[in-house]
Symmetry: C2
Subunit: 368 residues, 2 copies
């Protein structure tokens, strides 16, 4: 195999393919990026058994062929090369020479026989949305996924498609994040659970271009993302997702509208009074005048007060884990947020008027 | 004690004082910053037993007094406050209230009786140089200090003052960094060893203003830096520094002038071929045409070639630890560097024409 391609373009491809390289593994082929110039185009491929990537880069195929190269060494070498044409020359025993200007690297390549390429998949079930929309839906929900040993369905986000509306749900038993969005096209209703790990990598590969579309296919317990010249495959999480319908139908008692930045900063300051693992809640005392905010932590106590733009319904006194509130406020783009309360044993709903996002957070008990 | 001061000014002082807070300790008073408003000014103090800081901030003393507050909690709280006037009110039992706008924090303060203030010191022995000069001298040598278990004198930099010239030397047994600079004033000749840890913190506190002066006092096996409204004390390293005079007097055989950036980038690329702990040298083959650069590492091999602006003397073939060369090239500000070689068993000298800096690096043996 002999190929030629610009350093920047090669690096762009490596930065995509490296997302499916596992941090450590005993199977050394998984640590490799495959360069495949056996067809009409140059493809970079990777596969960590849960997720696989296949991306096309610009370049010239001088002599067709394939080679597998250690992803980290390849990435380090290409990153340090000058911004100029790079030539990759693979000899018969897979010894690989990378040349750029007067620099010449010799690396040991590997045969690609034991590498798993993306399987063929059915294109019957699919939906389309823009890179921007998919990026945003993941970004605004991913922090709500459960960490550690927990029911497997909670390690993934539920993608629920009904009547052309995609609802993405992430939850961890204490809180729920929901994002809704019209899809641009779809084959019909469906519900799948995509692993959080996959979504974290997808967000890092996806641009946030509102014009460029992503097509998502579902086949054989896997999901396939196709965008630009990249394909990403991931296994789905097995199982039935948690039913959250009954939570969404609750009648709320109190509505409050306030500035997001001010609210966030105040909770952020209060959280300085608790150590990691400290379960002390932040307490909101909501009256017509505004919200009295207080916390009694291991490190000290804080009181603060913020004005609200609007308050409807009865007064409330209710406590929350400050981290959970901050996770929600951090990803909301609106300057004003609306929060709905029921009572001190029921969750708060932070939601957009059009329900495009909803963050539902359970309260923490406190002795008042 | 009651004091009032602007959030930004208070934070500036905390950021200085926190440099002498140890990462962990069993003596909880060492984790505190002392706020001292017992005199005419507000002082922030810290002391980790090796190093002590005393800095003055702007503010109003409403009621004189002192208090010790946990440095990390204080820093976290003040950093999160709005950019406005902060009031610190200490009650009789050292309970401390910090107020800013409507936010009110209650922290547990401590009595300052068991805190060690800076001792009085003699002002007989001293030298002056600008913040900029001191900052630069440390920055350009500190990477050459030995790490880990090593002779104690190698953990500090030698400050040698003779005839109005300050020479700073850092070495680790494989390499030496030397910086020379005229001082602006001094009491006479002296030689001291200042711990690397102190210098690392000093660099982070010092500005790089060429107009502002630092006065350095030596007394009773300690050094005292005075600049702006800050005083830093540090213990000195005991012992006699390594004699390097015989190394400086060597006759060199080959002189090479070349572009620093190009040379650095080339060594950086070559270092991609070796893993951490791999002792493989980078080999320079110096001829009239330029330098042929090669490395045979565990991960592969590289060849490259760089042109030189000037070459005098015999050809050389000599191997080095690439990290050591990069540490030197990273801190040199000149675009062109001059390197002097003797033979493949003798060090390279990278030095300024006026000897304001010298980096001396021992070669690595290789079979050619």
């Amino acid at each position: 195999m002999i190929i030629e391609c610009e350093q920047k373009e090669l690096m762009r491809g490596i930065n995509i393919a490296i997302k499916a390289i596992p941090p450590r593994t005993t199977m050394s082929i998984l640590e490799c990026i495959v360069l495949d110039a056996s067809g009409d185009v140059i493809r970079l491929l990777s596969n960590d058994l849960n997720m696989a990537i296949d991306t096309v880069i610009d370049g010239t195929i001088v002599e067709p062929g394939t080679v597998a190269l250690d992803a980290r060494i390849l990435s380090d070498v290409i990153r340090k090369l000058p911004d100029n044409l790079v030539k990759i020359n693979v000899f018969e025993n897979y010894a690989t020479q990378i040349t750029c200007e007067r620099a010449k690297f010799n690396l040991m390549g590997r045969v690609t026989d034991d590498f798993s390429y993306l399987p063929k998949y059915s294109k019957e079930q699919y939906f389309d949305l823009s890179e921007f929309a998919l990026h945003d839906m993941i970004r605004q929900t991913i922090a709500f996924l459960a960490e550690g040993d927990i029911h497997p369905v909670m390690t993934g986000e539920c993608f629920h498609l009904q009547d052309g509306t995609l609802r993405v749900v992430a939850l961890d038993g204490h809180r729920i994040a929901i994002r809704e969005q019209q899809v641009d096209a779809c084959s019909g209703d469906m519900e799948i659970i995509i692993p959080g790990k996959t979504l974290n990598e997808i967000v890092r590969i996806l641009g946030d271009d509102a014009e460029r579309m992503v097509r998502v296919y579902i086949d054989d317990n896997s999901v396939f993302f196709e965008f630009e010249r990249t394909k990403v495959m991931s296994r789905l999480v097995d199982g039935k997702f948690v039913n959250i319908a009954y939570i969404l139908e609750s009648q709320t008692e109190t509505k409050v509208v306030l500035g997001k930045r001010e609210f966030y900063d105040c909770i952020d300051r209060a959280s300085m009074m608790i150590k990691e693992g400290d379960k002390k809640p932040i307490i909101f005392d909501i009256t017509d005048e505004g919200i009295e905010i207080s916390i009694q932590g291991m490190l000290g106590s804080m009181d603060d007060f913020i004005e609200v733009d609007e308050k409807e319904g009865m007064d409330q006194k209710i406590g929350f884990n400050p981290k959970f509130l901050m996770d929600a406020l951090r990803v909301v783009d609106d300057e004003k947020i609306t929060a709905y309360f029921i009572n001190h044993r029921s969750p708060v709903y932070i939601r957009a008027d059009d329900l495009s996002y909803q963050y539902i957070i359970l309260p923490v008990n406190f002795v008042s």
